[in-house]
Symmetry: C2
Subunit: 195 residues, 2 copies
Amino acid sequence: MDDRLTEQIRFLIEIDKLKTVHRRAKIIHGDRLENDAEHSWHLAMMALLLKEHANQDVDLLKVLKMLLVHDLVEIDAGDTFAYDAKGHEDKYEREKQAAKRLFGMLPPDQERELTELWEEFERMETIEARFASALDRLQPLIHNHLNDGDTWQTYGITSGQVTARNRKIAEGSEKLWELAQSIIAKSVEQGILAE
Amino acid sequence: MDDRLTEQIRFLIEIDKLKTVHRRAKIIHGDRLENDAEHSWHLAMMALLLKEHANQDVDLLKVLKMLLVHDLVEIDAGDTFAYDAKGHEDKYEREKQAAKRLFGMLPPDQERELTELWEEFERMETIEARFASALDRLQPLIHNHLNDGDTWQTYGITSGQVTARNRKIAEGSEKLWELAQSIIAKSVEQGILAE
């Protein structure tokens, strides 16, 4: 086996670990926390089916690549809870170290490609990154709504916090932000999200 | 929310069930069976990184879409074990019914798109389907090799069966078939796969 293929396979074995990084929200159809790998698959399916609702025409291949790759850094850095202000202080530094180690396992051209995809997602400047990020926010909102506000109640999250966090969905899709607002309103109405 | 978006979101909630469909192989970094959703993510990452080893230039977007979608029918039809001859007799019929119900939840144009992607994958005729299928065979081979032949031993699978099953990898990638052969040989040598 040549060096290039060896490096690629070693990386693909290493990232199996994403299946063991747990998020704060449960899956919808089962009583356990979701992991980052299945979450990334779910977001990719959302991109495939909701693409038409992006504010501008997006390059779907770029969006899919970003979504597949965006959480890999959590293998080393762990999942930082969306409402953990302290965890967010050094989040970027921790994840940058992780990107260096993980993507550094790959041949240089692929290290560059994955690093750029991850950074593009994080910066949220391109239309693809904004749409990908909108899906990454909308998905746990749907999960929490359908799981009777489970995560919100465990961590004492209010509708104000949820609205502030998810407002950025509008930058990727006004249409999905409307949907998000209706989910938040309904959750408050049902008493599963505190006002 | 308009009807189209409602249908899309209902479908995206339904397919969360893929996270509860278990395969026969374990994840590499943990002592539990892999589920179809995280498996699909892993295959998509393989496509992204191993594309250069396909026998012919493939349309990566098409490959990714197929891999994301290819196991959805197992939500209704269940995972049919690669070496279960009896299960394979009615596999296509069971999965066709599943495709009809599941993809039928979507707006007609998207129902058509997903049905076509799934059928293209199943038929293994296009270069994209052959490459996607090669990855779908290679991945559990790597898992079983690294998990000390776990699934092979549980079900009494021999190297002859593994070779017969995986020979089709060559149709998508000669290079990855070489790799697969070396993994099979090494597994026999290590005594974790019966001859």
